[in-house]
């Protein structure tokens, strides 16, 4: 394999693939960004990128045509789908497991459901089980009517599943290759697309991450882009639960050459809670500014919000901000562009506050971002974000934002008082004060708008492509150092409670190694003291007592001073973890209470005596 070079382009000479599960008719920001990146790699990075999808859809032709017409997909950026690929391009030299006989299905099935392609030819025939949702068999057909793929899940007479069989068939109907899991089939296809050449897969969909995560090949590097907070509902970064959709990603970050955060603040929160690793990167989404700064003279005293009318966007706070502004500056208005389930509720609030002439809900508006070009200010009062694109659009059109300092995004792009204002999340009065400042005179708003537009060059396609190039080069260079292992686990040996305060832990770290440097020479561990009420955890290095293939023996202690450090009086509980780290490996284990459940555990009586309690 040749080493990828730059050949005069910003991006290394490799094959590039943007991975989505599918492209829905009404897709959101994540898909938008993936498609945009694919186009930008071609237009600004000098490398063709291919969008790959896995949803069983007969054709993307009309979708691609529409996207290209809307400028959301560059001409020449190909969209490939695993099923459409094998349907139209033939099997080629399929490198897959040899087929075996599929057990005869003795379960009940309904009538076949047929999906036609846009030309009216059969694409799939699907038979479901009586429950109406479980697929018994799905047959895929070429335009000439021959079957090219059969996806079967046979059952015995009792309804017991006998496994899954995905069989590729040649034009004569003979089985060519067969997989027992859909993921293995998809990965075989991805490997065939890479064709042994240096390749980068960038995954935006958490759902598709399950396909790419186990893809291991020396010519392939893979990145996972985190579009949203890793914490459920954008909760507290130190005590919140992991977002369900990202759980599998974070449980196995070592599988990736790159975990990509959109903002520095997001990455910082992640590292402060879980630690750092060689495969963590920060690459912003691109949001190119307009070519020239819009004329300030064309700006009104109105503000603009572009957002969905959903709870996350916290629009009631924006209405409250305008209620305060209205008391001082009745001429200042706010135009809100976007649709959502809360529209009626929001209009009721506007009516109750008699702000009908102040706050206007315009609903969905094509190219709403252009409204920032004639606005004096923008507002962002969201509860949480991944990286708010509307904020970047506002800056890129010279419209200074007034934004809550929420996780994540605003603090990465707003230099408070220079290109906009940051106020504490929920501080309606402060936000209103900043709006009044911006509307109180032209000089401040004009100056801030100029700085906003000027600094927005950092979100340009070229700037972001350069960030990607650095990340890809680094990931490629360090791919040989990536430790590939599975079944990483912690087995507790003993926990010791020091009678004068403090804690000792001895444990085995266990794994199965597949490739890369010997993990036992790379891995280390920290005892982590988590503060239940919030705040950064404390990391205390553990001693590696013994190193051997597949196992480390580690021990560590926390003195009473370690447990106390940085813990305020309101925090009455500490949670104990062990973090295993080294190279690309980063995994935190919650330490279980030692011993079997329903056993006796030591505790202290009110007088400080040692007693045992049955739990």
């Amino acid at each position: 394999m040749t080493e990828p070079g730059t050949s005069g382009s910003a991006l290394p000479a490799m094959k590039y693939f943007m991975v989505l599960w599918g492209i829905a008719d009404n897709f959101g920001g994540m898909t938008t960004m993936s498609l945009h990146r694919g186009s930008a790699f071609q237009l600004h990075g000098g490398r063709t990128a291919t969008i790959v999808t896995f949803d069983p859809k007969p054709s993307y032709a009309s979708t691609v045509e529409r996207l290209q017409g809307q400028g959301q997909l560059a001409a020449g950026t190909e969209v490939l789908n695993v099923f459409q690929h094998y349907r139209s391009k033939g099997l080629g030299n399929v490198d897959g497991p040899l087929p075996i006989d599929v057990p005869v299905d003795k379960g009940e099935t309904g009538l076949p459901e047929v999906v036609l392609d846009p030309e009216g030819k059969v694409f799939t025939r699907t038979r479901l089980r009586p429950d109406g949702s479980t697929v018994a068999v799905r047959q895929f057909y070429r335009p000439d009517g021959t079957e090219f793929l059969r996806d079967e899940a046979p059952q015995d007479r009792t309804g017991k599943g006998l496994g899954r069989f995905l069989t590729l068939l040649d034009i004569s109907g003979a089985p060519v290759a067969q997989w027992r899991q859909a993921g293995d089939f998809y990965r075989s296809w991805l490997r065939s697309l890479a064709a042994g050449e240096p390749s980068t897969f960038i995954v935006d969909s958490a759902f598709a991450s399950r396909i790419v995560s186990p893809l291991e090949s020396e010519n392939i590097i893979k990145f996972m882009v985190l579009h949203n907070s890793h914490i459920a509902s954008g909760g507290d970064p130190f005590k919140g639960k992991m977002a369900a959709g990202q759980k599998l990603i974070h449980e196995n970050t070592l599988a990736w050459d790159g975990i990509v955060f959109l903002t520095q603040k997001h990455r910082q929160d992640y590292e402060e809670r879980f630690g750092t690793a060689s495969n963590l990167f920060t690459v912003s989404n691109p949001k190119p500014r307009v070519d020239s700064l819009p004329d300030f003279a064309s700006r009104s005293t109105n503000g603009v919000m572009v957002c969905r009318l959903e709870a996350q966007k916290n629009v009631p706070h924006a209405i409250d901000v305008m209620a305060r502004v209205h008391q001082v500056m009745p001429q200042v208005k706010l135009d809100i562009y976007g649709a959502g389930s809360l529209r009626e509720e929001l209009q009721t609030r506007i009516d109750e506050l008699s702000l009908q002439d102040v706050v206007h809900l315009h609903g969905h508006t094509p190219n709403a971002a252009a409204k920032f070009e004639t606005a004096r200010f923008s507002l962002l009062t969201s509860r949480n974000e991944g990286q708010p694109l509307s904020l970047m659009e506002s800056l890129g059109r010279g419209c200074p934002p007034v934004s809550y300092d929420i996780r994540y995004g605003p603090s990465d792009v707003i230099d408070d008082g220079e290109n906009g204002f940051l106020v504490s999340a929920g501080d309606v009065d402060a936000a209103a004060d900043r709006v009044i400042q911006l509307c109180g005179g032209d000089e401040l708003a004009q100056k801030m708008g100029e700085v906003a537009w000027d600094r927005s060059i950092r979100f340009s396609d070229t700037a972001v492509i350069n960030q990607w190039a650095l990340a890809i080069e680094k990931a490629w260079d360090q791919r040989a150092q990536r430790v590939v292992l599975s079944d990483l686990s912690l087995k507790l040996r003993e926990v010791g409670y020091i009678a004068s305060g403090g804690l000792e832990i001895a444990a085995d770290v266990l794994w199965t190694q597949h490739s890369g440097p010997a993990a036992q020479e790379v891995l280390a561990a920290n005892l982590v003291i988590g503060r239940r009420a919030g705040g950064k955890p404390a990391f205390l290095p553990m001693e590696v007592v013994e190193r051997m293939p597949g196992r480390l023996v580690v021990s560590g202690s926390a003195l009473i001073s370690d447990l106390d450090r940085g813990v305020d009086a309101s925090n009455n509980e500490l949670d104990i973890f062990v973090q295993v780290h080294g190279s690309n490996v980063l995994k935190t284990f919650r330490v279980g209470f030692p011993g079997p459940t329903h056993s006796w555990v030591p505790y202290a009586t009110v007088h400080g005596s040692l007693s045992l309690k049955l739990v």
Binding site: K491, L492, R493, E494, V495, G496, Y497, I498, A499, S500, G501, G502, L503, E504, R532, I560, L563, D564, N571, N572, E573, L574, D575, I576, R590, V591, G592, F593, P594, G595, P596, T597, S599, W600, V601, P602, Y603, A604, T605, H607, G608, S609, L610, S611, L612, K613, L614, V615
Partner: protein, 128 residues
């Protein structure tokens, strides 16, 4: 008064291993127990039943002090009707027997272990 009543015991560590065995480690002054043959045991006494179980404590002597250590298989305590049990060091000499209640070094040990409802290890602040 029996000489053993003067025995002092300083609890150093309470360990629990993966199998649930509790190991108690502490020290006593050499002069307390060096003068005559002595049997040491840790006793677990049910709070309700008053039923007691004893487990041999072993001594490792050094010139100044004795380290006392004993292991209690908590999975086999068998005090079903009790949900609390107290822990003592029993010292028996030719002249008598003493029971010493084991204590944490409060207020220094103000973070004490407990299992969460999911069976994880957490520490709770012991309010003074």
């Amino acid at each position: 008064m029996p000489a053993t009543s003067l025995v002092e015991f300083e609890l150093e560590k309470v360990s629990v291993n993966a199998e649930g065995a509790l190991t108690l480690t502490g020290t006593t002054r050499r002069s307390d127990i060096a003068d005559s043959p002595t049997d040491l045991a840790f006793a677990i006494v049910g709070r309700k039943s008053k039923a007691a179980r004893e487990y041999i404590a072993h001594v490792n002597a050094d010139p100044e002090r004795f380290e006392v250590r004993g292991t209690i298989p908590m999975g086999e305590l068998g005090l079903e009707i009790d949900d609390l049990a107290d822990v003592f060091l029993i010292v028996r000499t030719l002249t008598g027997e003493s029971r010493i209640r084991l204590t944490w070094d409060l207020p220094n040990a103000h973070w004490l272990p407990y299992p969460t409802k999911f069976g994880n290890l957490s520490l709770k602040r012991k309010q003074s």
